[in-house]
């Protein structure tokens, strides 16, 4: 019996590596610390009522933000481990197998569990406020989406200490990801972690699309919407078309692994190439899903900090819609080298290059907006300015990659690694950080410190170029991606060493940002006006942080830059008409989202290990939760006028 348990434990827990022991210890310590603090300060009830069961989009946004910053840390540590291993030739720091696992989890976590949730954080924190709504279309579903994402992410992260991590790359091509290539549980963790959180992402796409279509303030026509909201709109449309493809692709891979089917196997008539087509039909749009909101963020920030209406509003909207459509017609550029005919390659090369046109339009519009504007450079603007050169280089190298014949040279080289990090970090991470700095005072009521932030900005930026510029040359020199070591006679040592220094500079930048947050919680400049940047859109018309009902009275959305318009009117002595308060209709909290997601987690964990009893119990739990929700009819309540008055008075607003 004891032997059996020992065998099981040896199989179940990943052991034998100091990194993993370190992770074990820190997981245990952090858990103990959290439990202790919550118990000591008697905060369990508070945590449950105010956060874990909340359906308030602002709180859900904050939870997304925290989770994504944690994942940025985890993915960043992975990145530093890899760069350490590659700093010099023949370093015996990570073994080949280990290196494979780390680049796989790094890529997966960064895109799906860092970029996506940071994007959803901004959706949640901003969109309802910006369109003058009190909530999203489906608050309950919104909470469910968050918990699905969170528990899906935890499932994948667990693979590091239990069972073993996936190692087939972030898109896990077969036959490597098939049972024959990855017999362990790592690949199952990957499938279930992404599948569970992917359902959440799809639901968020639907949720915000309907929110934007149906819940805009009176008078706000579609062509009066702020550009960030427009970017969310185009992103949601893309999500709705792309994510079902991912769902099916992962499901088919799982069916192959679990039931011995032959979709993508090398035998039995399976076609690995089918997988590669399918995964990129999701994967390429996915890249645009994460970049489009960044375009929206820059548009807001550039307008606000130049004190001008955005230049070329209509062309901005049009460009975003074009990009989201074109993103579906470019996927083949990820495998130009895999033997499609020249015509096919030409079509996809041209469609890929075509995306540069609307993107260029956007960059010019931002520049024209800044031109002759009264520019102030605060944190959000700083990151926006850092983004522009970065994205231009990334775009240019992207067009180089899109030249199909040339791609035979760049394919799978470090040139490619440098290119996509240039867009993903320069575009997505810088963009979302700009957004975080911009809307932070709205959600938390204080600004993040400028001085520490500026240091962090320069560390990130300089680190970025130091890290990735050498990689273009490494790529042209013949260094391929996913190699865990190389020898002295390749001549790659010095460039790799420089690149690693850059990576650590970015790491230092991240640490400074954490310090910036901690410092600002205590000493940051408080936002008493609700409008710290002299903003233009509706979210700046209410106090910071907003009351949980957002707007005491429904705002008027019939002017472009609605809040700016009100401010101009006030300056001219025209007061907006006084509105009567009414009881406010709000959704009730619910425990179902977190419980149901936990059951999903249990199901995923069970199927990962092939324990059907556990997987099926998890699914039954999910079904029970669905029934419970379906039978709940008492889902909303009203905030009485008196209470609204009191809350507004407390925030310094007389109504």
């Amino acid at each position: 019996m004891l032997d059996k348990i020992k065998d099981f434990a040896a199989d179940f827990f990943v052991t034998g590596d100091p990194l993993i022991y370190g992770a074990d210890v820190s997981i245990v310590l952090v858990t103990i610390a959290i439990v202790f603090v919550l118990t000591y300060f008697k905060k369990w009830g508070w945590l449950w009522r105010e956060w874990l069961t909340t359906v308030d989009h602002k709180r859900i946004g904050i939870m997304y933000l925290i989770a994504s910053l944690l994942m940025l840390f985890r993915g960043g540590v992975d990145a530093l481990l890899m760069r350490t291993q590659l700093a010099l030739p023949d370093i015996p720091f990570l073994k080949a197998e280990h290196y494979n696992e780390i680049f796989t989890t790094h890529g997966t976590i960064m895109i799906l569990f860092m970029a996506m949730p940071m994007m959803f954080a901004l959706f949640n924190m901003v969109v309802p406020l910006q369109i003058g709504a009190r909530d999203v279309a489906y608050p309950f579903l919104n909470a469910l989406s968050f918990w699905l994402f969170f528990l899906g992410a935890m499932l994948l992260n667990l693979s590091f200490v239990i069972g073993g991590s996936p190692n087939a790359g972030w898109l896990s091509y077969p036959p490597l990801s098939e049972l024959s290539g990855s017999p362990g549980v790592g690949q199952n963790f990957y499938i279930w972690g992404i599948q569970i959180s992917g359902i959440g992402s799809l639901a968020t796409g639907i949720n915000f699309l309907v929110t934007i279509l149906k819940m805009r303030a009176p008078g706000m026509k579609l062509m009066k919407m702020p550009l960030f909201t427009w970017s969310v709109f185009s992103t949601c449309v893309t999500i709705i078309f792309a994510f079902p493809i991912l769902t099916i692709t992962l499901a088919l891979l799982f069916i192959d692994r679990y039931f011995g089917a032959h979709f993508f196997t090398m035998d039995g008539g399976g076609m690995p190439m089918m997988y590669i087509n399918l995964i990129w039909m999701w994967g390429h749009p996915e890249v645009y899903i994460v970049i489009l909101p960044a375009f929206g963020i820059f548009s807001e920030i550039v307008a606000t900090f130049s004190k001008k209406t955005i230049f070329g509003y209509k062309s901005m909207v049009f460009a975003m819609m074009i990009i989201s459509i074109l993103s579906f017609f470019t996927w083949v550029h990820h495998f130009f080298t895999m033997g499609s005919s020249a015509d096919v390659n030409a079509f996809f090369a041209i469609s890929t290059m075509a995306i540069a046109i609307p993107t260029g339009v956007k960059v010019f519009n931002w520049l024209f907006t800044m031109f002759r504007g009264r520019i102030t450079i605060k944190q959000p603007m700083l990151w926006t300015l850092g983004f522009i050169p970065c994205f231009l280089i990334g775009g240019a190298t992207g067009v180089m990659l899109a030249v199909a014949p040339a791609d035979f040279q760049y394919h799978n080289s470090y040139f490619l690694i440098a290119h996509f990090h240039q867009v993903l970090i320069g575009g997505v991470v810088f963009g979302y950080l700009a957004g975080m700095y911009y809307w932070w005072p709205k959600l938390f009521g204080f600004k993040l410190d400028e001085k520490i932030g500026t240091w962090a900005f320069w560390l990130w930026n300089i680190g970025f170029y130091v890290c990735f510029l050498p990689q273009y040359w490494l790529g042209l020199d013949g260094m391929t991606r996913r190699v865990y070591t190389y020898s002295w006679d390749t001549g790659w040592a010095s460039l790799n060493f420089i690149s690693t220094i850059g990576a650590f500079l970015m790491g230092a930048g991240f640490i400074l940002q954490v310090w910036q947050i901690v410092y600002s919680i205590r000493k940051g400049e408080r936002d008493t006006t609700g409008d710290p940047w002299d903003g233009r859109t509706l979210e700046w018309s209410i106090p910071s942080p907003p009351a949980h009902y957002n707007f005491a009275v429904t705002p008027d959305g019939s002017h472009m830059d609605a809040w700016w318009h009100v401010k101009q009117q006030l300056k001219a002595g025209i007061k907006p008409p006084k509105q009567e308060l009414e009881p406010i209709h709000m959704p009730k909290n619910s425990a179902v989202p977190i419980v149901m997601s936990t059951f999903w987690f249990i199901a995923g964990f069970g199927f990962t290990f092939g324990w059907n009893w556990m997987g099926i119990s998890g699914l039954i739990g999910v079904i029970v939760c669905l029934f419970v929700r379906s039978f709940t009819y008492d889902v909303d309540y009203y905030i009485p006028v008196d209470e609204v008055k009191k809350t507004e008075a407390k925030m310094g607003r007389a109504i």
Binding site: I206, I240, P244, I245, I248, I255, H262, P583, S630, I639
Partner: protein, 201 residues
């Protein structure tokens, strides 16, 4: 809590607004389901000839059973439509009656489908026999799972109808259900054509 602080009319107005929003969301959900099935159909079409020496559709499919399934599913779509008509006529009992018929038809459809699958497995045509059969079982099975979900759903809705009668909320739920049910019907027509008819040809 606090429902009394607004008049019933105001509350009803909010409810109606929300219910119409939920309908829109459901339509969009159906769009995602279309893409989901579209991807499965595409996979099937690509893999249909990869039988790896195993049996193909011509040897396996027996049209009479499939035609019966088709007939049953179409009828159930029709009966769910009658249920909606009963709803508009505000007749709860009639509605429940027709929904029961719908659920029973759905159950018999599932029964026939499972027997068909079992028979094929006994003949040695399993999901792991060939890529063609993997795609076949997954595509048809996904539709079957959808139908089963629909049956569970309509049972829950009938209980709610008994309890609350025809309200704004139950009306929306039933409308969405019937939408879903018709949608599955349409998917089946495609399945019937692409998989079975072309398969035996």
């Amino acid at each position: 809590m606090n429902h009394h602080i607004v008049s019933p009319e105001v509350h009803e107005h909010h409810t109606q607004e929300q219910e119409s929003m939920k309908m829109l969301g459901f339509w969009i959900f159906l769009v995602t389901d279309v893409i989901l099935f579209g991807t499965l159909f595409a996979t099937y079409v690509v893999l249909v000839h990869n039988t790896a020496g195993g049996p193909d559709g011509k040897e396996l499919f027996e049209l009479p059973g499939i035609v019966a399934e088709t007939f049953i599913l179409l009828t159930s779509s029709f009966t769910s439509g009658i249920a909606v008509l009963q709803m508009q006529a505000k007749k709860v009992n009639g509605m429940i009656f027709w929904l029961i018929i719908t659920a029973l038809l759905g159950l018999s459809f599932i029964y026939l489908e499972i027997s068909e699958f079992v028979k094929m497995v006994h003949e040695g045509a399993t999901i792991s026999t060939s890529a063609f059969l993997s795609a076949f079982f997954t595509l048809v099975g996904t539709h079957g799972v959808h139908v089963s979900v629909g049956i569970g759903w309509v049972i829950a809705l009938m209980i709610q109808l008994k309890k609350y009668g025809i309200t704004t909320v139950t009306k929306r739920k039933i409308t969405n259900f019937s939408l879903y049910w018709h949608f599955l019907d349409v998917v089946w027509i495609f399945l019937f054509t692409v998989v079975y008819l072309i398969g035996v040809m």
